[in-house]
Structures are given as C-alpha cells and as structure tokens.
Symmetry: C2
Subunit: 268 residues, 2 copies
Amino acid sequence: MSKLLKAYDRSRVPLYIQVASVLRTRIQSGQWAAGEKISTLEELEQEFEVARVTVRQAVDILREEGLLQARQGLGTFVSRKTQDRHWVKLATNWNSLIESLKGNVPRRLSIDYDSKPNLADSDGELASSYVKLRSVQYRNEDPYSVVNVHLAREVFDLKPDRFKNAAALVTIDEMREITLRNAHQMLVIGSADPEVADLLKIPIGAPTVEAHCVVIDDGGIAIYVGDIIYRSESIKLQIDLLGPQPVLPKRGRNGVKVDLPRRKSRRA
Amino acid sequence: MSKLLKAYDRSRVPLYIQVASVLRTRIQSGQWAAGEKISTLEELEQEFEVARVTVRQAVDILREEGLLQARQGLGTFVSRKTQDRHWVKLATNWNSLIESLKGNVPRRLSIDYDSKPNLADSDGELASSYVKLRSVQYRNEDPYSVVNVHLAREVFDLKPDRFKNAAALVTIDEMREITLRNAHQMLVIGSADPEVADLLKIPIGAPTVEAHCVVIDDGGIAIYVGDIIYRSESIKLQIDLLGPQPVLPKRGRNGVKVDLPRRKSRRA
DNA sequence: CTCAATTTGTTCGTATGTATG
DNA sequence: ACATACATACGAACAAATTGA
C-alpha cells in the first residue's frame, strides 16, 4: 500500500487527480521552473508510491492544460509560458474597498423586496425591512464573485435607481445623509454549491472565500449586509499588522462623516 | 446529461461526493435545521439530476458522519446534535497575534542553519543568513497549522534556547533590543500537498490558508519570515474596515518600541 | 383492519473509470 | 498493451416500514 493511501482514504479523490494537483502546485509555485526537466516517471512512481500508469494519467492532465510537455526518450519538461495568475486584492479597509469597487460593473441577477439578512452577534440591529440585491462581479469578462446584498429599505428608497445600477457601498459612501458607526467583514473558507459553481465557472465543491460584510449607521442599524462569495483562486489578502492607518474624518470631503472607532473596550 | 455533468467534468470529483458536500453545507449552514425532514430521495434525485443510487451514496456518507438519520417509510432527518464548529480567529494586528500565540505550544520538527526565505517586493531586505525553524501548532491535540519560520541569524543568536522552545514572534515581542519598522501578512488560499496533508490530518488537495508573514526591523531587514499553512476549515478572519486602532507606542511597556507606520506613501 | 400512498432500503444488470502489476 | 479487481454511475424493479384515509 502506498504511503498516500491513508491520505487517499481521507480524500476519496482519484489518486491520479491528487498526483496531478501536487505536480501542478510545484509548477505554479516555481519549485519546478519553466523549461526545466521534471523527475522521470520512475522517480515520480517511487516518490508517490503509485503505479506507473497512474503517474502517466496525472502527467497527461497537465499536458492537456499546457503546463507540461513530454518528449519520448528525453523526459518531461515544464512549458515556457507559465503566465502567473493575476490576483484580486481583497480590501481590508473602507477607502480601498470603495476604491476597488468604483470600477466594477455588477451584473444584476435579481431584486427581492421582501427578505431578511442573517446577522451575527456584533452586526447591529435589524432595520424594519430590506431590499435584497443579487449580482455577479466581473473582471475582464471573468466572474470572480457572487454578491448578495441586503440593503435597508429606507436607504434604498433614497436613491433606488442608483442602487439598482452601481455597487451599493459606493453609493452609500457618496451619500451625505448617512453617517457610519461601524463597518466590518468576516471571512471564512467555504465551498461552491451548484449554483455558485455555475455562476463563477468553478467546479462544485471548489474552495471559495465567503465574506460577510456589515455596515452599521450611527443609529446602530445594519443598513448594509453583504454576503459575498469569491472564487478563492485569485484572491490575495494583504494585512498590515502594525496598525493600518485609521480612516480619518477628513475623508468626509466625500460626504461620509465617519465616527472614529472607540479606543477602549477592544481588549477588555 | 445531468445539469451537473458539465460541472462534474470541471471537477473530476466523484458525483456522490459532490452531492454529499452540498448537503453537508446545507446542514451546517442551518438551511436545514436540526430535527427537520430533508427532501426525499426522489426530490434530490430530480434536483441534482443524478440516479437514485448516487443520492443514496451521498446520504450514506452523511449518515456515517452522524449528520443525518434515515427512517424507512418516513424520510431522512437532520440529527439533533449539530454542534457548531469551533473557530480559530486569525489575528489581524500585532497585539492580538502575539496574544494568540502565547498559549500555543509548537512541536518542533526541524532546525536548518542554512536556508534562505523567499521575499516578495515589499518584504524588506534579506539578512546575511537565517535559521529555519519548522513546527506544527496544536489546539486541543488537533493540529491546525504548519509553520516554517526563517529567523535572521543575528536575532536567533541573541536567545537561541528561547527561540528553540517558544513561538518566535512572542520572543521577538519580548526583546527590548529590537525595534520594528513594519510587520505584514499576505494571505492566499492554497491546497495541501502530501506532507502538509499528513501533518494537518486533512486530505491531499484540501484547501488551506497560506500566510506569508514578514517582520522588518528599523534597519529595513526582514528579521522574521513566517510561511504558515492553516487548515482552512476552522479559520475565521475578522476585519474592521473603519480603521482598526493603530498599535500605540505605549505598547513599549512590554519591551518593543514600535515605529508608527508612516502616514504617507501608502496610497501613493 | 385493510388499503393506498409515500418513502427509504435492496438488488440486478450494464457501462465506464480507476489502479495495480 | 493486457488481465484483473474494484469503484462509480445509471436505470429500473421490487421489498419493507410508516402514515393516514
């Protein structure tokens, strides 16, 4: 029994697929550079402790993907053109979040006028009613996130047309009449259900990044609740550990007067 | 051809596994409450457009997991005791990071005295030499992260014994003689290679959160470079969008004099 | 109590995919 | 390339348990 069979039992994914993904990672991470000759079939056979045919199946997959080229009698080589992935940087503060949304064009899927969001503990209080907006975000014709937004009805009614056609947060950011008390985001790793898989063009069960984003106004009401599902492939998160700059009130030039977070309580 | 077959082609994961994970998500998300009767086999058959037996295989998996209970003639029900997962909150600032590390006991795997870390663009300059520490972090006997730390040799030599036996960042935090200029973290979603899968007790290819954490001293040298791989299951990330409090210099009571990040440049 | 409707449980046959040696 | 074994997936038929009319 191969060393991997214990792990194989855990995963249930066909062995040759597993081997393929390990090899793919080695190429994409640069562990095997472009043009380089990779281990021989025999070496791989021994390393993974699987049959020769199984290794071949794995290599075949990567050949179809264009990552590998095999030449009889010579060996298997990493293709030259290994274009690196283009990353989408997830925003970790209000300003960059708004900035990143400005260019985006959401494709609206549906609007539902009678729906309530799920709130966690520190997500403020429910508004009396919400409008639910569903859309998909694209970047170069490629879908990269599914967005489910619950917008407090009173806020939506202030600029219904604008909210229907632009990113909701950008619109909120522009509205002088709204003052924010808090805005936060909770991220977890999930996996794509059939519907999301279809929208994002990824396999069912593929890992996703699920963001639960809540904006609370000065009345303590959750006026915006966004549940956003990103395809995890192209997501990067940059976090400055030593105090990212606080959002300063001067930001008000754009209309939003932001309450500074309280210095206390956080570490209580 | 079933609606899912196109997606199936994308994923290559056995159909019944895919169906099982969708059902599992519905239960864990509370979409199907505890005690509730779920759709009949026939309905699921139609929804997923797969054969009866395939649905049954999926249900069987969840029964073995204890999530479902089936009763002939009656239906299939969600088990009462759906204990929710216990999350590990990833730290997003220095103080909470240090705090979260203090209790932890790393199990050292190896020490390598001749190894260089991979640095990204804004990761500062390389020190002349590094010590590489490899360990696994546990929480209640369960492994949850694999840690690969490169520590500047000069820093390591100041307290070699301490660094060998405690979390490196905590030790750095305690050292008066070190002043920090910058510390940041880059997160991406990856997948487990055989070695990591074995250490974290997860299937090969299971999604992981890869953190690239860099600490730069006042000389611009990357004195600490940690590549940490978390099992993604139990990771939560909480981000305050409206200005998380900056780490104040008063923190120096603990020995570390921290340079405030510069107000400029960031948005240049 | 019996009957019918509903729903899970079981089995057969067949075709294809996966993995070994 | 071949022979073997087992896993995956389909469709269909039938058996067994539960409920309510």
